[in-house]
């Protein structure tokens, strides 16, 4: 079942906006996605008709809000194939999720000389928290290298994993679009005795996700890239791992008892959700998940593979060797992310020129500086697609690139 993109576009109010009298081409979903009316309305309805805090209120509105949060947790668990809803911990974004894991688990489990394994294509969110714990504990970070074509080079995997205590890898690169063999790495890492985390920030919005099939112990992702609101992320972990892990943020709701002498922790998921939750955001994420389920994740993936194929072809046809597209060339192995270098135009200038054609892309280091350093580049201009993009957006992107020629006279 192909997506009906025209109908989908109509669900996203922003996309109807005209800038300078012209329609916009939103191609920055890898940074953050737009929101369908269903998501906006779910939050608005909560604020307008039933606002209250959750968990402890003995009155009608509080009960409704508590049920709405429970329902969203169940929906998210179902969406990622989590065996138990209590394994779904709501955070503020993927960054907090990864910090929660790296700091709470890391402080309790890492020591001097212990090995943390990352890859060269990680987002800063999956690097800096580990550098912080590594510095605190005297641990070592090892990096799975990448190949020329922007895929993980697993030749030396066994050596790299030797003695590893934790392995944390991106399921899909936000710069290259590369879909990584998480299962294979997880199995090898488990065999080596390591705990395995994956950063699903770019994966969950775009592919059917099953955390059990992926074989990981921990999985993080962020709401705003999957049609959800800002201010909500998810940490999924196995019950066993989460039960054994010390808490991260201390405060209300995460405790069972508090005395002047100390505290004991509440059961999952509350143990890791201190303070008043991001209730509206959780409700919004629940609505986003339902919207995505309505479209069907298989259909979304199919749509994006075909758009990716179309885009890769169109760029090459238009510009040949004047354009360099980073990442795997095979659409089946990557997401709908086009990180390009066009002639000698600096990505920042390229972004500006595309902006003047209402083509909205991101230019910069995409929070993956070590990757860019490895690739020998300072920045890239990245266009990315999602459910509401179609070939006309790709066409606009391709055409607008030539605008750089007029200015820089290349």
């Amino acid at each position: 079942m192909a997506l009906d993109v025209a109908a989908i576009k109509a669900d996203f109010p922003v996309l109807a906006r005209l800038v300078d009298g012209q329609p916009i081409h939103y191609m920055d979903s890898a940074a953050s996605s737009q929101k369908p009316t269903a998501v906006i309305d779910a939050m608005e309805n909560y604020y307008r008709n039933g606002y209250a805090s959750v968990n402890r209120g003995a009155y009608q509105l509080a009960r409704e809000a508590t049920q709405a949060v429970d329902a969203a947790r169940t929906a998210v668990a179902r969406f990622i194939g989590a065996p138990h809803a209590h394994e779904v911990i709501f955070t503020k974004n993927a960054t907090e999720s990864m910090n929660l894991f790296a700091q709470a688990w890391g402080r309790a489990n890492l020591g001097a000389g212990d090995v943390i394994v990352l890859t060269e294509m990680e987002h800063h969110a999956n690097i800096v928290p580990w550098q912080m714990v590594a510095a605190e504990k005297g641990s070592e970070i090892r990096w799975i290298p990448i190949t020329e074509s922007g895929e993980l080079d697993l030749t030396d995997l066994d050596r790299i994993l030797d003695g590893a205590k934790v392995v944390s890898v991106s399921a899909m690169s936000n710069v290259l679009g590369t879909i990584n063999p998480v299962r294979r790495i997880a199995d090898a890492a488990h065999a080596a005795g390591a705990v395995v985390a994956a950063d699903g920030s770019q994966y969950v919005p775009h592919l059917p996700t099953d955390v059990v099939e992926l074989g990981v112990d921990v999985f993080v992702f962020t709401g705003h890239k999957m049609l959800g609101p800002t201010g909500v992320g998810v940490l999924w972990g196995t019950t066993e791992l989460l039960d054994a892990m010390p808490p991260f943020l201390g405060g209300g709701d995460m405790i069972l008892t508090v005395t002047k002498e100390g505290f004991t922790t509440n059961e999952l998921p509350h143990k890791f959700e201190a303070g008043t939750p991001n209730i509206a955001e959780i409700i919004g994420l629940g609505a986003a998940v339902e919207y995505l389920e309505g479209l069907g994740m298989e259909a979304i993936r199919e749509h994006e593979v075909s758009l990716t194929a179309y885009g890769l072809r169109a760029l090459k046809e238009a510009y040949g060797d004047d354009i360099r597209i980073h990442g795997p060339s095979e659409p089946a192995n990557r997401g709908g992310i086009f990180s390009v270098e066009y002639k000698d135009v600096h990505p920042h200038d390229l972004g500006q020129i595309l902006d003047s054609h209402n083509v909205y892309v991101r230019a910069g280091h995409h929070c993956a500086k070590p990757l860019l350093q490895t690739m020998g580049i300072q920045a890239s201009a990245r266009a990315s697609v999602y459910v509401y993009n179609d070939e006309s957006d790709i066409d606009a992107f391709v055409a607008a690139l030539a605008g750089a020629d007029d200015i820089f006279g290349f």
Binding site: V19, D20, H346, P347, H348, D349, Q352, I353, D355, S356, N358, A363, G364, H365, K369, L372, Q378, A379, I407, F408, G409
Partner: protein, 148 residues
């Protein structure tokens, strides 16, 4: 969206494609000061040599967008041979021109080629690109003072 022609004036593109005073200077006697813009990753390195209170030589290197690199090149031309005090004044004036109230036409003219960069004002998130080299220059001069 303001017209791109305000941003990418011919003289700017020229400095970007043909950067002036490109290179390094031996340190000492020169000082070397790097500057980075954390968001876009623009990089500049400014070498200044001060003799008897005058910027006797300047060299610059960098990597980044056209605005950051053109500004760097234009700056190198504008300060060479000028007394440090005058250069410090120029830094303030330039930043005022980019971020202050609407610049007065007369003043702007006096800055010659630099005036081409006033078009950047219409693109607020590019202002930091234009200013990077000038901030770095200020730090280079401070360092030079310390060494003296």
């Amino acid at each position: 969206m303001a017209g791109l022609e305000d941003l990418y004036k011919e003289i700017i593109v020229d400095h970007y494609k043909n950067p002036r005073n490109k290179g390094t200077l031996p340190t000492p006697p020169a000082v070397e000061e790097p500057g980075t813009n954390p968001y876009c990753g623009d990089e500049v390195v400014v070498y200044v040599q001060v003799d008897d209170g005058v910027v006797s030589d300047v060299a610059v290197e960098g990597r980044g967008c056209s605005i950051s690199q053109a500004s760097l090149s234009m700056m190198s031309e504008a300060i060479k041979g000028k007394p440090v005090e005058e250069v410090r004044g120029l830094i303030d004036e330039f930043k005022e021109m980019m971020t202050g109230a609407e610049p007065d036409a007369g003043d702007v003219m006096k800055k010659g080629e630099l005036a081409a960069l006033t078009g950047v004002r219409k693109f607020p998130d590019r202002i930091k690109c234009a200013i990077l080299s000038w901030n770095t220059l200020g730090q280079a001069l401070d360092k030079s003072d310390d060494n003296a």
